[in-house]
Symmetry: C2
Subunit: 409 residues, 2 copies
């Protein structure tokens, strides 16, 4: 019998689930070097000014700007050298009126000075005196205290995903450990009497487990920690026992259901029994991925994904990935989506969203998306693709040359 | 004194270095679950057909297509049930003329059959007979042996970076360990009398080490393994000793030179002395990053990056990142670059390439790049940015609304 379910749109399905999610409240304290791509658990404020002292941005001479006003090649200002600031040391001298102190890029400006003259704009007269041939304004060629960031300022808000430059910014103010959101633990349970571990030799009629590998990798991509829970047979008691055990160890459960209707029905029944409120969505207006199940079991999201590898990946991207981001309180990485020009028409039925694998190719200055056609049970359809284009529900297709958003795999 | 060097373009600088690089010849054998984003060391061919047996893609009945020709609601074809194929088992029956066997999605087609009739297009007459109300063609609703991939076919070539779908494809044919290129070891040596470890409290005139954090993270992003070699003082003998030791442990050496001209000169002298042929480029027509040094020391690339955090990151992206990709034999990840529309004019001097940090913002359906102005010694300039736009050498700027390529940090 065909499956009977109330199909909803992908947006509606996500809205139902996302409204019930709360932020993960587990944190980890990590050294900065281990925190790349991790998500901040709390707002971070600057514990000090950066720079902590007035810093020269040039090699040259610290001066009082007023002493250089009007200086030119024809009428230089003459300043007396009062010493040199050693790098990494307190500037233990003072620049008085008519004086100049030698400074290096990154060195401290001595008290009394308020600007730096570049060495290129000076001429040594003798060992004790220089000519300045161009004026400088107050604050020129230097960074005042706190110019980069001020003590107490908000550096990054909770939910910020740490990038290389952010780690540098935290190092600069001495925050060398950070408190990040724990990785959501995602239990992955494959099902199907025909599915065997990938490292065994399948018997007649058997196939190797693919989804545990693709879904574990996608989980890692969005900051989750996959927990591999094996392969359940199409036996209700065993599947239920394994699903309960998997959910007990994790924040999220993802079951890649068998591909036949009867095993999918069994999966739905078991998911419904795992906790309250149970199934929120059974059936989404997408192709592939229609029989996807979204549920909540006592505060933990549970997904029933179709067993076909292409459908499973597409449904993961559409529903599980945003859930994992929401649990971490993080937005989507800019690198997850790109824009390309469609190389060919894509036909689609209105009333459902089509998820079309595309291969990307850079020709001249333009990125082109070329649809890869293939059946959703063929993993190499996706191995030939770089990402997925969503054809909206209300459109009967997309024309060649249209600019499309590509979600990268 | 101003530094005297022969400035070359960024493209010319890269060409000089890249022509001397050879692929890294160290490999690692990894389980598939640990191989995400790693680069293949050798071509991989399929050891078997996928699928290994003819597979149904629907719930229904395996039949001889010829028996259904002409079938319709008004004139159904009557077929005798000869059994059911159990999932994950050998189909130990045979479909003869006028017969049908019940099959499930993903199950094996029995010998004798050459197509599958969807259950929706049948009607049970009694326990032993079905009506078929639509004809099927040979091969319909099934995957023949090797349809996804054929035994012996090239799956992925050397240099391919493994994505989630690729891991799935390898699992599908039983390749659960893969031979990947070892991560290039990148020695990172900071220099400067004023630089102290980020986890210490700087004294007057001292600053915390930022570059070791940003460059280590950028190294990881392109698949390299950072080796932190500490902070060398502005002392020739010590710096040389530390540079030699650092290079001995690594495939690539990156020195983030002090910011003053004198320490940069010293760095250049030491880099020149590390091996043959020595310095290839000293000075690049980019802003920031002009004093960048590219060298080869007895087969190993050596970089002298400017000490300012922004310059160091920009020069790393422009020169070190492509070198690390080349050593691994890998192309650039599609996710490393995106396209955006410029929110404001950017002015630039012709004759040099400007590297402008931009913040990206999605407004309506369009990604906008808004230039972030700030001095190159301010790390928070970059922490407010998401990537960098290159303003070409021969242009005096870019206009607002232009489509630009953004290299994401």
């Amino acid at each position: 019998m065909p499956e009977l379910f109330h199909v909803v749109t992908a947006d509606e399905a996500n809205a139902r689930l996302q409204s019930l999610l709360t932020l993960l409240d587990r944190a980890e304290e990590l050294p900065l070097h281990a925190a790349l791509e991790r998500v901040l658990f709390q707002d971070l404020h600057a514990p000090c000014d950066l720079p902590a002292f007035p810093r020269s941005t040039m090699d040259g001479f610290a001066v009082r700007a007023a002493d250089t006003f009007g200086a030119s090649e024809g009428l230089p200002a003459y300043l007396t050298l009062c010493g040199e600031v050693t790098m990494g040391r307190q500037a233990d001298l003072r620049v008085g009126s008519g004086q100049a102190a030698r400074v290096h890029t990154g060195g401290m400006l001595p008290p009394g000075s308020d600007a730096v003259v570049m060495v290129e704009h000076t001429q040594a007269v003798d060992a004790t005196m220089i000519e300045v041939v161009r004026p400088v304004a107050v604050g020129e060629n230097m960074l005042p205290v706190g110019e980069d960031v001020r003590a107490g300022a908000l550096l990054f808000a909770r939910g910020h995903r740490l990038r290389p430059q952010d780690l540098g910014g935290l190092a600069g103010v001495g925050l060398t450990t950070v408190c990040v959101v724990a990785r959501p633990r995602v239990a992955l349970l494959a099902t199907g009497d025909e599915v065997v571990p990938a490292d065994t030799t399948p018997g007649p009629g058997q196939v190797r487990d693919i989804n545990s590998y693709t879904l574990a990798a996608l989980t890692r991509r969005v900051g989750g920690e996959p927990v591999l829970c094996g392969i359940a047979p199409d036996d209700k008691a065993t599947l239920r026992r394994m699903a309960v055990a998997a959910l007990a160890t994790a924040d999220v459960l993802v079951v890649s259901a068998g591909s036949s209707v009867s095993t999918r029905d069994m999966t739905a029944e078991i998911i419904a029994s795992l906790g309250q409120p149970g199934i929120l969505v059974h059936g989404v207006a997408i192709q592939p991925g229609k029989p996807t199940i979204l549920a909540m079991a006592d505060g933990r999201p549970v997904f029933g994904l179709p067993g076909n590898p292409v459908s499973a990946m597409a449904a993961f991207e559409l529903f599980v990935a945003p859930t994992l981001r929401r649990l971490q309180g993080a937005g989507e990485a800019l690198s997850a989506v790109t824009t390309a020009r469609l190389a060919r028409n894509i036909a689609s039925k209105p009333g459902r969203e089509d998820l079309v694998p595309v291969r990307l190719e850079r020709r001249a200055d333009q990125l082109w998306a070329d649809p890869v056609f293939g059946k959703s049970n063929q993993i190499y359809t996706l191995a030939r693709a770089d990402g997925i284009v969503r054809v909206p529900l209300d459109q009967s297709g997309l024309y060649a040359d249209a600019l499309v958003e590509v979600r990268l795999f």
